[in-house]
Amino acid sequence: MTRYVVIGNGVAGVTAAQAIAQSQPGADLHVYAAEPYPYYRRPQLPDYIAGLVTEDDITYRPPQWYAERGIQVHLNCPVVELDAAAYRLRLADGTDVPYDRLLLAMGGVAWMPPVEGVDRRGVFTLRTLDDARTIRAWARESRQAVVVGGGLLGLETARALRALGLEVTVLEVAPYLMPRQLDREGAAVLEILIHRMGIRTETGVVTEAVLGDSAVRAVRLKDGREFPADLVVFSAGIRPEVTLARQAGLVVNRGVVVDKYLQTSAPDIYAAGDVAEANGIVYGIVPAAIEQARVAAANLVSPGSAVYRGTIPTTTLKVVGAELTSIGECVMEADDLVQLRRADPQQGRYRKLAMRDGRIVGAILLNEREHTSAIRQLLERGTDVSAYTDLLLEENPDWKRLLA
């Protein structure tokens, strides 16, 4: 019987295991998880830190869930070695595990930038439930926090710490917040929402050192300013966890390089999710992890049966309670694009439409929930809206006129 082994117990690993179990009932199917917990909802870790959800709420998939589906899950079992020629894994306790088909779905690790003093106590990154537990416990004894990184996770972490009553400052190296999803004008509106929560922000600043004795006392910027802190979270991005793949001699670039079948450079080894680099892209988003997991699972069962064609980013996300949607060419500032903007900082709303040849090719929408659907349709249809630019910037456009 074919022995399927999945390394990783996040969205990609669990989705793939479930797909294999569905198509091959009774298969010899194993999931190896480095962490001691069954599947949990990683996007909810900031809510867990804030005390809005409990550990039970996010780790709600007990080991029986796996058993009922014929998946043998091995928690707290880091894989430390991969021998691709011998089709064998070695676990941290020295056990050898053979496989016929292997899926690498170990995800990513939080990147800690090489800043002086990050080894002091009270300095953290946030990726795992253990990280979240440690931060939550430390936050109980803290008054002032600094979050280094003003991307999605950094802002969500800041919101959580603020909810616990800490004074929070966010430091972002880019000239404005969420530079991957927003433009400068949109970020200015978001910043107002964040300031209203009582969170301070500093953009265009370089974090130079973490000061203190054994524990952190302050963060110093390159411009010399110091921010007192007894808790610091670095939120500087996620890197694919490629240690095992690299050691095994697989082709690794930023992530583990895969072909259109999501196969790595080694036979019978596939990769999916945050660890994988497909078409030169490490997607790092939930929809891509799900799609890749399904394609990889199909190919594990029946090689060559499914092709991955890339994922169009679904980029609606919640940040600090605001709903942010980015569609198409939204951050690009190409010369041939006409930009229409409507900002309502008081209401925390922002609408930017990027147009080319009279057609909408991109949009950034902050708290514009009721208009998102119409704008998406205009973009998808390629409707010529050049005669309606005034209408597009009204507070409540009569979309029916344009969509009729």
């Binding site: 989705t15 996007p43 939930v286 929809p287 929930r369 009721e370």
Partner: protein, 52 residues
């Protein structure tokens, strides 16, 4: 009947629908289009489970 996203915990409430995708209030989860995705994290429809 409400449905919950396994990935991020978003709850689809048919009484509210999903205005950002043009889904009117009163739409049962079963009648959402197949390509509908979680408004918070982008997970596909089959990543949702019923909640009581």
């Amino acid at each position: 009947m409400k449905w919950e996203c396994m990935v991020c915990g978003y709850v689809y409430d048919p009484e509210k629908g999903d205005p950002s995708r043009g889904i009117p209030p009163g739409t049962p989860f079963e009648e959402l289009p197949d390509d509908w995705t979680c408004p918070d994290c982008g997970a596909t429809k089959d990543m949702f489970e019923k909640v009581s």
